[in-house]
């Protein structure tokens, strides 16, 4: 059955191993198959490998074993000591990080159009026009000529999302994008992600916000100790987990929140 699904999976992660140095093993044989249109939220304890998983999928990390296929094609694989990454496939994936990564020397608009111009050779005028549309869609139409230092944290993260969307990604990765924000700014960023979710954008995200996870996810993966412990619809994993470790984690998290 697995072979039948291979062809149609958007992301297929097989037996992924990742360690930092000889002693710190973060991912220990992780398997995930993500279908097109899915919105996967990865939850789990700190150090469980969630962020590392996203960074691997973005092609930012060397891996020690296993492989990742994207859109049915070989994308990342470990060949001996080397990690082979198809950088053309990588361009179809967008990512927003926990820490602000807008380039401070460029205006908001210049941040948006840098990659479309350099990577796709799009004209300045055309990129600006698209950029303005996306900014307006995210309620940032008046900020095109501002600089990142003039924006609030929530605005910066919305711009970071807009910047990634400029490249028409086939998959968006969100790595704890609201963790560094003041509580009152979280909602505006989550609203933008929900808006994207409604438009059908496939996404994989790490978040500590269980309320948000429940709202946005079509599927929740509980990751601990470098492997997938539980994987299923949000109602199951968050509401009625089958695995004892998931249950403990969910109880602890919701207990703290209550």
């Amino acid at each position: 059955m697995a072979d039948m699904r291979d062809g149609s999976a958007l992301v297929e992660i097989r037996d992924l191993h990742k360690s930092y140095g000889p002693n710190i093993q973060v991912l220990k044989g992780l398997n995930i198959q993500m279908m097109p249109g899915e919105r996967v939220v990865v939850i789990g304890p700190s150090g469980g490998g969630k962020s590392t998983l996203l960074r691997v999928v973005m092609g930012l990390e060397q891996i020690q074993g296993g492989s990742v296929r994207f859109g049915g094609k070989p994308y990342i694989s470990a060949k001996g000591d080397k990690t082979v990454i198809d950088t053309e496939l990588r361009k179809q994936i967008g990512m927003v990080f926990q820490h602000y990564t807008l380039f401070p020397h460029l205006s908001i608009m210049e941040n948006l159009i840098l990659a479309p111009r350099k990577v796709h050779g799009e004209s300045r005028a055309s990129a600006r026009e698209r950029g303005q549309k996306i900014l307006e869609r995210f309620g940032l139409g008046a900020k095109a000529d501002a600089y990142p230092s003039q924006l609030s944290g929530g605005q910066k993260q919305r711009v970071a999302i807009a910047r990634a969307l400029m490249l028409d990604p086939k998959l968006m990765l969100f790595d704890e994008v609201t963790s560094a924000l003041d509580p009152e700014l979280v909602a505006e960023v989550e609203a933008v992600i929900l808006q994207l979710a409604e438009s059908g954008m496939p996404m994989m995200m790490v978040t500590h916000d269980m309320w948000f996870a429940r709202n946005v996810a079509s599927r929740v993966i509980f990751c601990a100790g470098g492997v997938v412990v539980e994987d299923g619809p949000p109602e199951q994993v968050l509401g009625d987990p089958r695995e004892e470790r998931t249950r403990e984690f969910i109880n602890r998290v919701f207990h703290i929140k209550a």
Binding site: G59, H105, V119, L167
Partner: protein, 220 residues
């Protein structure tokens, strides 16, 4: 102390001091031209992954950082003509000696600024599909160069002050002219005070400008 100040002894002889100041400014500007350009090239070498490029560059930097400037200048003026059999004018020799010293210090300023660019920005560059060269040209260097400006200016005005050392090897700069004038007029207090005030009058505004620039950058 029975001493009557006679500033006139200096003010009547401002001509030689101004000639000396002109030489000092030439030394400073030319050494900075060398230091700003060669320092950048050297910084790229010290951050290279290739040991053949990196190690000699680091040795160069450490040599200039770990020896007194006065020793470098004296060594340069005496040893370079003997070893390489070249004889340049004293001002040119001074420019090269100060320029090499500044190159080493500026290389460190550039290197620190390059390494201060957050790693996350490079990750974002990869996520945006930019090639390694595009990441360096569009993300790393613009930020690094901007951040390095205050340190480059501080180093540059430092070399303006250090340039007084070349008076020892006979370059007719401001300090040298001051020494000559003090000896000729028997007025060391007045002369060296005026010389110091001239250095101060130029260094102080630049220092203030750097402070202003740093404040402005920290807001952005």
């Amino acid at each position: 102390m029975d001493y009557t100040l006679d500033l006139g002894a200096v003010t009547r002889n401002m001509g030689p001091l101004m000639d000396g100041l002109w030489v000092t400014l030439q030394l400073t500007l030319a050494a900075n031209a060398i230091g700003v350009i060669a320092g950048f090239a050297l910084a790229l070498l010290t951050t290279s992954k290739l040991a053949v490029l990196r190690l000699p560059a680091m040795l160069f930097v450490e040599f200039f950082r770990c020896t007194p400037a006065i020793v470098q200048i004296v060594w340069f003026f005496y040893c370079v003509p003997m070893i390489f059999n070249v004889f340049w004018g004293p001002v040119f020799m001074g420019i090269v000696a100060l320029g090499l010293n500044l190159t080493a210090f500026n290389a460190e300023a550039y290197r620190a600024s390059i390494q201060a660019v957050p790693r996350e920005h490079l990750d974002a560059g990869i996520a945006l599909g930019l090639s390694p060269t595009q990441r360096v040209l569009n993300i790393v260097l613009p930020q690094a160069l901007r951040n390095s400006v205050p340190v480059l200016l501080t180093n540059g005005i430092g070399i303006f002050q250090q340039s007084a050392l070349v008076a020892i090897v006979g370059v007719a700069d401001l300090m040298y002219q001051g020494k000559t004038l003090a000896t000729a007029t028997y007025r060391p207090i007045e002369t060296f005070t005026v010389v110091a005030l001239i250095y101060l009058a130029i260094s102080y505004p630049v220092g203030q400008f750097v402070n202003w620039l740093e404040r402005r950058q920290s807001y952005s």
